[in-house]
Each structure stands twice: as structure tokens, then as C-alpha cells.
Symmetry: C2
Subunit: 226 residues, 2 copies
DNA sequence: ACAAATTTTTAGATTTGCCTAAATTTTAAT
DNA sequence: ATTAAAATTTAGGCAAATCTAAAAATTTGT
């Protein structure tokens, strides 16, 4: 019915970027924003947007930005599913660390084979989250965003488990490794310094001080959800 | 030292084809042969050969065919290593059948990451042969062709184990499945019909008749090697 | 509201990998 | 040894994805 299959690698990368920038493709995204994230020129973006628009993957009106159509959204979710499943594979089966997976997954996500990705899903026992705590869409694009909060935004004395990172750059992840912060750690917010927003936390027993920047890139899951 | 890494997918496919056609790149390969195997036009082949020649991957003299340089050979072996390791992965870990692996491995072989392929090798416990019985080059391109013979060429009463196929097309492999012929089967050649070269064989107990075409695409390993 | 700044698009090139058609070289046949 | 056939290369073009520079539309500041 739809030839989701004959998309080029470049088209797929644009779709993915529009999805990420537009909060899952619902919002209008600016040409410049796409160009910046993809390290390309705005004029190249315009060209590609026209092409994607032809193919009914994006809604486009000149000068008004783009958003994903329902087909575009489905496509994005399928690429993200592949990306995140491969990340799990790399960490679980090939002993990659969480800061090494992104680059390789960027390549693997473009491999075309339904059977491959479904079998991979099975091999990994149908994981629901990737190594950075981001949810993995199921076969039909089903997506359950986990209920979680930024560490920088919860009240003092909140207790929770570290379940994700907002910034998943290698730099940040290596910093976390160096400081013994990992998904699964038990965290309690002891004190917040109003002056600079830094936090004093207790993490798996230890006590440590983290800056606001760090805290605003760590997600925790508390028990006070419904 | 050498930028084996910035090869395009197309360049890699040409190198692989030249390797296969020229018995591991040693012999001169005709432009037309490459074009036919790659389902492209001879003129396109000439273009690409010039480009590869520039990069010192092939030896080329106009009208005289091409062969791989030592760098080209090394490149080919690295691609073949990846292709075959991925095939093993698909069969061993993802339950693909041996006739389903080729197409996907053709995509996976172009993924660039040394760490990925070395880890995969480890996950698979350093396999020496792929699902069709072809040898997998090691990290350094080391290659040990297994001592084996075409079933069509061994004398009557020869006993051996089926260790490989010459034709690994899905059609042939499915035919073998249908007739219960698989790698690892014990085979004894009972009789050869001189008229059409067909064979009467005993395979894992059963008795069966196979045509010359079939026999000339099955490798067995006998015990009479040195 | 209107000029200035910013954003976006258009126009025209470039590179890669492919094509067709025509020319050239090699090989095969008599 | 020629000539016919086959193989190979050259010449000229095309589509995808990018770029630069210039033009057009939108947004912003006062």
C-alpha cells in the first residue's frame, strides 16, 4: 500500500530530524533548525522538504515550516524503533558502552528488513527502553512515554530511580560514568542550592553535589505517580 | 595510513565483485563480466574502475581488464569477512534460514565499525565458516580454504561430509531443504550414471538420486586428505 | 507602520553513479 | 592477413543531494 521501503538514507534522516525537533512531528519545524541539526544548509533542506512533501511524508507551505503527516510519523517511529533496538543489541550483546552506541546505530537503523528487526526484537526479549532510557516504539509505532521527571525539577527529599538521560551525547555519558551515575541508581534529593540550582543528592548510598546542568539532564522515576 | 574507511557502498560492491570474479582478485577480470554480475552497463564499470585505480585499489590498463592491488584485496577480504559474519549471526542468533541471509548481509556488510565487527565475531565464538560453508577471513584477512571436493568429481564409494555449496542462490538452497540435504550430512557415493552424470548417493541413511547439476554444486570433505 | 534583520526560497553549479550512443581496440574467423 | 564480431572506452547527459549567492517573504524593533 505505501512504499515506505524505497526511501533513501537521506530522506530517512530528514524525517527523523523533523520528528525529533517537532516533538514527534506534531509541531511545525523551522528550516533553519533542521539545517543546523543536520549540519547542512537551509537551501538543501528546502529542496528535500519539497521532495518529502511530494511523497506525502510532510505537510509543507512555503515559509511556514514543516510537520510530519501521519505517514511521515509512522516512518519516523519505524526508524527510531530500529535505532533503539540496535542500541540495546550493541549494549546487551556486544558489550558496547552507552556512549558508543549512537554512531553505529545511526548506520544500522537504515537496514531494510522487517524480518531482521522483528527477530532482533525477539532476541532482545522485546525491550521497552533503550540504553539511555528512551522508549522503543513497538511494531505498530506504539509508544509509551515513561512517567518521569527531570531531577532539576522535583522537590527536596524526593526519592526515585534514575531512568534516563535527556542529553545522550558521549561527553555527558562519559561524565556520568566517571562519577558513578548510571540508570537504575537510587537517588534522593537532599538539598537544592537556590543560588546556582546545584543539588546535593544521595545516590546509591554515596553523597554528591551535582550542578544544575547535570540535574536538568537526568530523569528519575518517583513512586508518587498515580 | 590508508583510508579504507571512506569508501562508498558502490565502490565496495565493485571491489567485492572483482574479488569474486578473479579468484580472489589475482586474475584479470573483464569489464563485461563485472557489468553482468552487477547488473549494470560496461560503461559504468569503466568509470568506476578508473576511480578505483586512482585510489590504488585495482590495477588497470585500458582494454586489459582489472585485478585487485594488495590494498584492494585487503579491502575485499574485510568486506567478505563482514558479510559472512553477519550471515552466521542471522542464522545462529536470529533464526534466519540459509536461503534468507544473503540479501540482508549485502546491506549489513557496509556498516563501518571495527569494534562492531570484532564484537560480533566474539559473540559468535569466532566462526570459521558461514552458513553455506564458505570460509570467514580473520581480522587480518587470513583465509584458510577448506580442503573439499565437488561431489560430482569424487570417485565411486567415496564417503564424506557435506561441508558447502557452490551455488548459494535461494533457489538451490530451498531445493536442498526440500530434499533434506544440509551441511553436516554424511554422504556416500554409491553409483555414477555415465550417461548423464547423475549420482546415486546414500545420505544420512536414506538413498537418493541426484542430477549432475546438483552434484556439481555440493562440496564434501573426505577423510583421505593428507 | 515601516525599515532592518532574519529566515526561507530560488537559481545555478558541483559531485557521484549511472545511462545511451558512438568510437575505438582487441579478438576471432576465414 | 584481413575483416567481421565482440569487448571496451569515450562523449555527452541525467537524477540525487549537496553547495553558494542572490532574491523574496516574514518577523522584529522602534
Amino acid at each position: 500500500m505505501h512504499k515506505l521501503y524505497l526511501m533513501t538514507r537521506s530522506e530517512e534522516n530528514y524525517i527523523k530530524t523533523i520528528f525529533h525537533l517537532g516533538r514527534q512531528g506534531t509541531q511545525d519545524v523551522a528550516t533553519n533548525a533542521i539545517a543546523e541539526l543536520m549540519e547542512t544548509k537551509p537551501s538543501s533542506v528546502t529542496d528535500m522538504i519539497k521532495k518529502l512533501s511530494e511523497k506525502d511524508l510532510v505537510n509543507y507551505k512555503r515559509y511556514q515550516g514543516v510537520s510530519l503527516t501521519s505517514l511521515g510519523n509512522k516512518t519516523a517511529l519505524s526508524i527510531i524503533r530500529k535505532h533503539r533496538l540496535w542500541e540495546v543489541f550493541l549494549v546487551e550483546k556486544l558489550d558496547f558502552s552507552w556512549d558508543e552506541v549512537h554512531e553505529v546505530a545511526e548506520q544500522l537503523e537504515h537496514i531494510k528488513s522487517d524480518k531482521l528487526i522483528d527477530s532482533l526484537d525477539r532476541l532482545l526479549a522485546f525491550p521497552k527502553f533503550d540504553p539511555h532510557g528512551d522508549p522503543i516504539p513497538d511494531k505498530n509505532g506504539g509508544f509509551k512515554e515513561r512517567d518521569r521527571d527531570l531531577l532539576s525539577e522535583v522537590p527536596i527529599r524526593t526519592v526515585g530511580v534514575c531512568v534516563g538521560v535527556k542529553d545522550s551525547s558521549a561527553t555527558f555519558l562519559k561524565f556520568l560514568d566517571k562519577n558513578g551515575i548510571a540508570l537504575g541508581n537510587q537517588i534522593k534529593v537532599m538539598e537544592r542550592e537556590e543560588f546556582d540550582g546545584s543539588l546535593n543528592i544521595e545516590i546509591d548510598g554515596r553523597n554528591m553535589q551535582i550542578s544544575h546542568v547535570i540535574a536538568s539532564n537526568l530523569y528519575i522515576k518517583t513512586n508518587d505517580g498515580i
